[in-house]
Structures are given as structure tokens and as C-alpha cells.
């Protein structure tokens, strides 16, 4: 028992001993654990990187924000989070973010330890977007006229990058308009300018040319080489000598290929004052500058060598110091080509080569502008020369019935025409006259003789004057398979087309046209 009591006393004394060892409870900096927080930012998450506390990023960049906690992340922590501009933005140690708002942003990592102590570290991020070029306020204004080509010209504009103060540079170009046609004595000695400027203005001291159009452009870039979406594309005109102006025009034509054009400027108060210009223009090459013209009121006439193009007539004023601009002169061809057979008939006899006259008043038609179909079959064997379209038919194209030949032609202005011709039956199952010339005092033996191999019975035999649209002889309900008659030349005109027709009882019909000429002197006649 005594042993137990003694043991209790010793234990109690040993226990209380700790209360007397006060040095054990004094704060010793060496024994404390310093919690450190350090944040860095980077363009990449994993690669080794320098510790960066502030940087500027492109608005399209992804920013990686990294928090390092010392001695390690296993220390007793109550909470940690990131703030962006004072607002909660992440609960991770490391995270990535794309910032869409240009300008300055402050990121703070906050760590609350076991003892409620707050540890934090911050970093600064500037986000830059594309520069904004003011493309509505610049000098000189678009379309400015009468700039003295021999004085200094001032170009000014402005640009900024939202939310951040950045330096800008500017891509500036100045070019003289390249015209299809320049008036006499209009050779240009201008050297185009293409340069990078550090300031939002440009002074040009060198000489421009008088009465010319100049085009200038500006695009802004900031320190991060981000280009402005906006681009200034403007132009101005220079003036000439006192009392002079000029005319610049865009002549729209419907042809891809150049056409000859004649321009005339007739002074309305002085008929002796006429200015003529000869040039060519196409749909892609059609801007003209006529050089210096004395100021005054003029009648403008524009003609083409091609008759299908309608001429332009317009009253214009040439003003002292100004360039008169005509942007909408339409020199167009709306007339389609024409097609006719060389017999001028739409119903044609079958022939190895059919010839058609194809003409257009806007230049040359070529084979590629034509298409020929025999019913649904495309005929590729064709060629166009000297206004004649030759269509080659094959032996297999012959038929005992009418065939339809369709010809389409388009000109350079895409005006097109489509015409249908009929090709008569071939071979013919009958014989009859062919082209014949008789004397006025003579006569002609008309004949028609059926020899169809199918045994079709003849219903009608007929001679028809196509020229006068009258029947010459017609025999119906006949059981004969041939007919002939001699007629005096006095019954005919000097020239006519006669159609020999045979109609069978089954409704089938065959015919042939031929010409009959009546001459004063008999030259030659022939019967088939």
C-alpha cells in the first residue's frame, strides 16, 4: 500500500513538473512552421518557368495560375481559394483561365491555416485585345477633292487597345489608282508608299500627280502584333492647273473581252472644243481617267464599234480643280445573235452538211458559243466560220419521218437564242423534180412517182408553191402511184420554191422542196 501511495505522489510530482518548465511553452521561432504562399503565372502549366508576378497576355491566351504553399501542401489548412478582382474564381491550387475582358486584373490566392491566420499572395495580369482603329474619323476624309499635289498632305487617324496602355504601329500605304486608260500625257511618276509608322499620322512632302486618284490604307498593330480588325481604306483626288478638271469613269460592259470604245466630250458652249478618246474596255478592265480637261459643261458620248452596244449620251460638268466621277456608265449588249438557214427556211432537206447563217453585233461568235441537238442527241461535229455554222449529219441520222434540229447560240454578253429546224424525211420513197430553170417561153414537166418498198397505198399527190402559198396541182383519192403534167412557164414567177408531196392512206406523208427559176433565156433545165 505504501508503495502505491509513494508511486502516486511521484507521478503527480512528475506530472506537475511540466507546469514549472515554462521555457517549454515560450514561443520559439525556430520551432515554428512558417507557412508561405507564393503565386506565379505562366503561359504553360507544366514546363519549367521563371517565377512571374506580373505579365501581359493576349486576350486569346490561356493563363495558368499556380499557387505554391510551403513547407508543403500537407500543412493543416482550413480553406484556400483564388480571387480575381476581389471575386471568387477558383478553389484549386493551380488552374487555367482565359480572360475575355481586356485591361488589368488582380489575382489573389488566399489560404486560411489551422489557426485562422490568413496567408495570401497576389499577381497582376494585363490582358490586351486587338487594337481598335477608328475608321470613321480620319484626315483627309474619303473622296476629298482638289488636294494640291505640290503641297504637304497630312494623313491622321487614331487607334487604341482597350484597357491597357500599349504602343501602336501602323501599316500605311499610298498608291495611285491604276486606270485601264489614261488620257494623253498622263504618265505617272509616282512611287507607291508602303511603310510602318510609329505615330498615327503621316506627312507626305513629295509631289503627287495632278488630277489623279490616290488610295491610302492604314491598319493598326499593338505591341503584341495584334492587328486591328478595322482598316482604313480611303481615297482622294488631286487638283490640276487653274481652270482645269478631269473625268474619271467606270464603263461597265457585259463582255469579258475588250471592245473598242470611242469617247467624245463636246463642249456645250464652244462647238470647236471637242475631245476624243479611243480606247478599249472589258468587264474587268474598265476604269478610265481622261487627264486634264478645261472646266465647262460637256456632252459626253460613248460609242462602241459593235452595233449591239447601245451608245451612252450624258451631260456632264467638268469643274475647276475637281475630278468628275462617273461610276455607273453601262455599255451593254442586250441583243441576242440571229440564226437562219441558208435557204431561209425552217424546214430543211436532209443533207450531209447543213449550213446556217449565225450573226451577232457584238463581235465574233465561235464554235464554243454554239450547241446543236438532233432531238436529244448532241451533235458535236460542227464548226463556225465566216458567219456560217456548218452542222455535219451522219447517214444514220436519216429518217422516214421529220426530225427536229435545235441550235442554240450565245454571244459574249450571254445573250442567247434557240431556234428549231425541221429536217424532212430521208430517204424519199418517191421521185420528183429537182431545182430547175426554164425559159419564159418554155414549159416544165412536173412529175411525182411513188416507189415505196412497203406497199403503202397513195392517197394524195400534190405540187405546192411554197413561195406563193398556193397549191399547183393536187390529186386526191387516187389509186395511181404516179402523176405528171406539163405546165407553161408563164404560170410561174421568176423564182419559187415548190414542194412535191405524197400522202399515203395510212396517214404518212413525204415531201421534197425544190426551186423553179424562170429566166428570159433558157440556160439549162433538167428533170430527175
Amino acid at each position: 500500500m505504501k508503495f502505491i501511495q509513494t508511486l502516486i505522489i511521484i507521478a503527480t510530482v512528475w506530472l506537475l513538473q511540466s507546469c514549472f518548465d515554462s521555457n517549454e511553452h515560450i514561443f520559439d521561432e525556430d520551432d515554428s512552421i512558417d507557412i508561405t504562399v507564393e503565386v506565379t503565372l505562366s503561359h504553360v502549366m507544366s514546363a519549367p518557368m521563371p517565377s512571374v508576378k506580373a505579365d501581359t497576355f493576349n486576350i486569346h491566351d490561356t493563363i495558368f495560375l499556380l499557387a505554391n504553399v510551403g513547407p508543403n501542401k500537407a500543412v493543416h489548412i482550413q480553406d484556400y481559394y483564388w480571387l480575381m478582382d476581389g471575386e471568387h474564381c477558383s478553389s484549386e491550387y493551380n488552374f487555367k483561365k482565359q480572360i475575355s475582358t481586356p485591361g488589368h486584373h488582380k489575382f489573389t490566392f488566399v489560404l486560411k491555416d489551422y489557426f485562422n491566420d490568413i496567408h495570401s499572395d497576389s499577381l497582376d495580369v494585363w490582358v490586351a485585345g486587338n487594337p481598335i482603329l477608328n475608321d470613321s474619323a480620319y484626315i483627309p476624309a474619303q473622296g476629298t477633292q482638289a488636294i494640291d499635289p505640290y503641297e504637304t498632305i497630312y494623313f491622321t487617324w487614331s487607334a487604341k487597345t482597350e484597357g491597357i496602355r500599349l504602343a501602336h504601329r501602323f501599316h500605311f500605304t499610298l498608291n495611285e489608282e491604276d486606270f485601264t486608260y489614261l488620257g494623253p500625257h498622263s504618265e505617272s511618276k509616282f512611287t507607291p508608299i508602303d511603310t510602318i509608322l510609329n505615330e498615327p499620322y503621316f506627312e507626305y512632302h513629295n509631289e503627287l500627280n495632278p488630277l489623279k486618284k490616290y488610295i491610302w490604307t492604314v491598319q493598326a498593330f499593338n505591341e503584341y502584333n495584334l492587328a486591328s480588325i478595322e482598316k482604313i481604306e480611303s481615297f482622294f483626288y488631286t487638283k490640276g492647273l487653274t481652270g482645269e478638271g478631269s473625268l474619271q469613269a467606270k464603263i461597265s460592259t457585259s463582255l469579258q473581252t475588250p471592245i473598242p470604245i470611242h469617247i467624245s466630250l463636246q463642249n456645250k458652249t464652244d462647238e470647236n472644243k471637242v475631245f476624243n478618246y479611243n480606247l478599249s474596255a472589258s468587264s474587268s478592265s474598265n476604269e478610265i481617267s481622261l487627264g486634264s480637261i478645261p472646266a465647262g459643261a460637256y456632252q459626253l458620248t460613248i460609242l462602241s464599234d459593235y452595233p449591239d452596244f447601245k451608245s451612252i449620251n450624258k451631260d456632264i460638268d467638268i469643274r475647276d480643280g475637281f475630278v468628275t466621277i462617273l461610276d455607273n456608265l453601262q455599255l451593254t449588249d442586250s441583243i441576242a445573235p440571229s440564226i437562219k438557214s441558208i435557204t431561209n427556211l425552217d424546214t430543211l432537206d436532209f443533207s450531209d452538211t447543213l449550213k446556217f447563217i449565225v450573226k451577232d453585233g457584238s463581235g465574233i461568235i465561235n464554235t464554243q458559243n454554239t450547241t446543236v441537238h438532233l432531238e436529244s442527241d448532241l451533235i458535236t461535229d460542227r464548226f463556225y466560220k465566216d458567219s456560217i455554222l456548218n452542222v455535219i449529219l451522219r447517214e444514220a441520222d436519216k429518217s422516214w419521218t421529220f426530225r427536229i434540229l435545235t441550235i442554240s447560240v450565245s454571244d459574249g454578253s450571254n445573250n442567247s437564242i434557240r431556234k428549231t429546224f425541221y429536217i424532212k424525211q430521208s430517204p424519199l420513197w418517191f421521185t420528183t423534180n429537182s431545182d430547175t430553170t426554164i425559159a419564159k417561153n418554155g414549159s416544165i414537166q412536173l412529175y411525182i412517182k411513188d416507189n415505196n418498198p412497203f406497199g403503202f397505198k397513195v392517197e394524195t399527190l400534190q405540187f405546192y408553191n411554197v413561195t406563193t402559198n398556193e397549191s399547183i396541182v393536187s390529186i386526191s383519192n387516187t389509186d395511181k402511184s404516179s402523176f405528171s403534167a406539163e405546165l407553161e412557164a408563164s404560170l410561174f414567177d421568176e423564182e419559187q420554191t415548190i414542194e412535191s408531196i405524197i400522202i399515203y392512206t395510212n396517214g404518212m406523208k413525204q415531201s421534197k422542196t425544190w426551186k423553179l427559176f424562170v429566166k428570159d433565156v433558157y440556160t439549162k433545165g433538167g428533170n430527175e
Binding site: 503527480t12 507546469c19 484626315i139 497630312y154 480643280g321
Partner: protein
């Protein structure tokens, strides 16, 4: 004899141990000293008629007062301040105290550029700064066109706009930037002193010029009116 049963010895021993325990607990360490509570020491300057500003810029035509402001303010009196004009070779003490008045001159020896703040424990904080002496730009009232002028031309022809600005600091690296305001539409024209602009139709128009220097000082002309008469020709 059983002392635990027959005397007050156990009680005395327990009381003694308890007393010693309490004494031991009273020997607990003090709370660690807190960090310096001063958050920031800011330098401000002002001139006659203006309020104090952290933009350390003064014009040379009037005396200026520079002062230090401590945050939180309750610690302002716990610190002492010394204003110096500091060069690479030496520091010249100009004033002790939270405020110092000086007259901005080209001779900058009386203009402080260094502040040393000292707390009661002798800890020091040093700040290097620069007080900019900037003369504001001035625009001449003489312009082209002058107020009331009549210009002949058309909406497409160019008219000359010219003005003149001056700044005493131009030789010291300052630069003047101009904005021309024509009928309320502003055009930044940089350092140019003239431009030629079109787009002015027949009638009354107005324009003015605004100039600012690198340090943000500005001058603005009052609007000047002019009239355009369309002659259908360039003049």
C-alpha cells in the same frame, strides 16, 4: 501510523502541489508581438487651389506643398519623417515633418526626392520619388480659319485648319498632342499643327483645338465659327 488517515498532511500536500501547478501556469509566455500595423505611406502634393494628389506633378508658377500620409491614419503620429534631396553622392536634408513647402524651380535642390520614415523602434522606410515640374501647354488664339471667317469651296474640297501651341517643357522632352474638333467630330492629329479636311457643306461650322502634353496638362480653345459658301469649285 497512517498519516493519510490521521493528519492534514495529505490536504497540505495536495494544496501545495495545486499551488505549484498554478504558479507554473502563470509562467505562460507572452503573446508574440504583432507585425507593424502600418499598411502604407503615401506621398501627396498640391498647389494653390488644388487638392492633394498622388500624382507628383507641379507647375513652376506657384509654391507647392508635399506631405506624407500614413494608412491607417492613427499611426501617423507614431512615425517621424525626413525629406531629402538625394543625389548619387549625398543626401541633403530639407525638412523634418509630415509636410514640406517648396517653390518649383529649375534648381531642384529644394525639391525633395527621398522620404525616410522612422517608427518608435527605429525601423526606417525609405522612398525615392520624383516631383515633376511641368508647364501646361498653351494654344494660341490665332487659328486658320479665324473666328467668323468665310471659306469658299464645296463639301468635297479641302480646307486648311492651322493652329499654334507652346509648352515651356518642349526642350526638356515634353511632347504636345492635338485633337481637332470639327462640328463635334474629333480627330486625333498627333503633333501636327495643321491639317486639311473636307466634308464641310454650305453653312455655318465650328471647330476648336485641344492640346495635351505627356503629363496630362491640357489647353482647349473656345469653339471658332466659320462659314462655307459652295462655289462648286475648289479654291
Amino acid at each position: 501510523m497512517n498519516l493519510f488517515n490521521r493528519s492534514i498532511l495529505p490536504f497540505l500536500m495536495a494544496a501545495t502541489f495545486f499551488g505549484l501547478f498554478l504558479i507554473g501556469c502563470l509562467d505562460a509566455p507572452d503573446y508574440p508581438e504583432a507585425f507593424t500595423p502600418v499598411e502604407s505611406i503615401r506621398i501627396l502634393v498640391k498647389q494653390k487651389g488644388d487638392s492633394f494628389s498622388t500624382q507628383l506633378k507641379v507647375h513652376p508658377s506657384d509654391s507647392a506643398t508635399i506631405k506624407v500620409k500614413v494608412f491607417p491614419e492613427k499611426y501617423q503620429n507614431d512615425l517621424t519623417f525626413e525629406w531629402f534631396y538625394s543625389t548619387d553622392k549625398k543626401d541633403s536634408l530639407l525638412e523634418r515633418g509630415a509636410e514640406y513647402s517648396f517653390y518649383p524651380t529649375k534648381d531642384k535642390k529644394n525639391i525633395p526626392n527621398k522620404l525616410i520614415s522612422t517608427d518608435r523602434e527605429g525601423n526606417k522606410d525609405s522612398q525615392i520619388f520624383t516631383v515633376i515640374i511641368n508647364s501646361p501647354p498653351v494654344l494660341s488664339d490665332s487659328t486658320i480659319p479665324a473666328n467668323g471667317d468665310t471659306l469658299y469651296g464645296s463639301a468635297k474640297s479641302v480646307f486648311l485648319f492651322a493652329w499654334y501651341s507652346l509648352d515651356m517643357d518642349l526642350l526638356n522632352g515634353d511632347t504636345l498632342f492635338h485633337t481637332i474638333d470639327i462640328d463635334g467630330k474629333k480627330f486625333d492629329v498627333g503633333t501636327l499643327l495643321q491639317v486639311k479636311q473636307s466634308g464641310l457643306s454650305t453653312g455655318k461650322h465650328k471647330f476648336r483645338v485641344i492640346v495635351h502634353d505627356l503629363y496630362g496638362d491640357t489647353d482647349t480653345l473656345a469653339y471658332k465659327e466659320f462659314f462655307v459658301i459652295d462655289t462648286l469649285e475648289a479654291k
